[in-house]
Amino acid sequence: MHFDKPTYTVRKSRKKDIPKGLYTKDPISGAILFAKEIEENQMVVPASGHHFPIGARERLARLLDEGSFIETDAQVRSADPLGFTDTTPYTTRLKKYERESGLPEAVICGVGRIHGIDVAIAVMDFRFCGGTLGSATGEKITRTIETALNRKIPCIIFSTSGGARMQEGILSLMQMAKTSAALGRLAEARLPYISVLTHPTTGGVSASYAMLGDVILAEPGALIGFAGPRVIKDTTKQILPPGFQTSEFLLKHGLLDQIVSRTEMRDRLRDILQAIYLKAKPVPSAKN
């Protein structure tokens, strides 16, 4: 295997990527930025195009038509089926994730509209247990797919995940089968599924619904892969080429349909759904 001279850099999946305080530093240019300015631009640095992680609710607020989002299945929460304790009990960890992220689970789902097009949508959030896929996460994703199926509307899933959630053991692995089976039915019904990969998308999520989109999009500079860079290094003693497992690498190697900036995502999703779902471009009103 040979790799061309890379033009991209490797990113590590760290929560501290999320800027805090009044000022923040752009990891690409090193420039000091106003945090507020970045927030207003959906956590994207205007000058360099660097994408900081964004929370699920903040993403939904900017992605969907204003006021169109109806959250569903918020009552579906993680349990502790194995009575799992490592250095800390899983139940204690869950409370901490809820408190720190302000979220009930690693995914928020519901229905909403993108430029007037109804969609079933699930958005993952890395801040809740590293966006890991547990039973409740898998159940919410599956219900989102079933909503799309029942209402005959497209399904959109934004992924960000460290993989299957270890504390729920084999049941987490089974969520990969459950969600993929539901996507099989969606495909059979010829309803579109657009998967959007955001930084980072790895492990069990990458090996299930994240890779099953009719169209697979990714944000720039995201780390995307099955095994994380550290696992590959430790297991194989291979030296990873610079830029390995980034969105740019994967576009070049044929996995992604497009890399799309967060600030253009809403319009791009409309453009794609117009073709594969509406199969017609709505006649623009006189105003636009």
Binding site: T87, S180, Y209, F244, L250
Partner: protein
Amino acid sequence: MEMRSYVLEFEKPLRDLSKQLDTLRQQALETGANLSGEITTIEQQIHSTQHKIYTALTPWQRVQIARHPKRPYALDYVGLLCENFQELHGDRQYNDDRALIGGTAFFDGRAVMIIAHQKGRDTKEKIARNFGMPQPEGYRKALRLMKMAEKFGLPLLSFIDTPGAYPGIESEARHVSEAIAVNLREMAMLRTPSIAVIVGEGGSGGALGIGVTDRVLIFENSYYSVISPEGCAAILWKDGTAAPKAAEALKLNAATLEPLGVVDEVIAEPLGGAHYDPEQAATSLKSTLRKHLSDLCGLDLPHLLETRYQRYRKLGVYDEVGRVH
């Protein structure tokens, strides 16, 4: 029962007793002394020690048995259970993965399609088979054979035994996650009966990638886990030597998987593990497989597909307004 040459840490008391027995027998032979009393005592000790060790195995000890270098592998079972195995090679796109093999065979007089993880026995074969860790080509070959099974109406038999999919640069560059994901979806929709048997290691997504079947059977000492005990220990305990603790916490053994609905039946192994008596293990597997296969072949296709969907749909335990599902 014969002690095998590869001795696990917890089997050492047995090895020591076996050595004592050998010494006594040798003495009796050389000196002509009557040591039958001593020999009988040691034999009884061996028997009771075997019973003591093997009927109280910890989760981590079972993981070690699942990884035992003498444990029967998929092709051993295919040889013992099937006739006229015709291996079908290659994914028709890139390569032939020797860690994930497949082909047609006859089981119980019925034509079937087999897909299987395969580990190597000696160093050369271990390397050739990449220690049972498939690359994307393996999963794509398996998909090709599943589709062939569907086309010709053959039931699918899947033998699972992998530490996991190969976490390497080439594997990533050719999108192993996509290859596994597609298999999950396609197996869930496959229009032919399917049974998976976890014969050794059920290592995470690499195992599941050929494991979305109507029935999932597991040998008593096999394991099936979201992550290796070592990997889990390194991440959650920040200590690779905490693997025995992680093995226990993950509930990855056959007996603990069954109540979760992940496996449908546990197949008993000879005392000490399948490697003590592969023929006996194969006989147990044969009768269990025969039963499940005839069950499934009696179902009409829509019912089969709906039952399979619901089997996976209901997996998971979560809380919903105080109600636990």
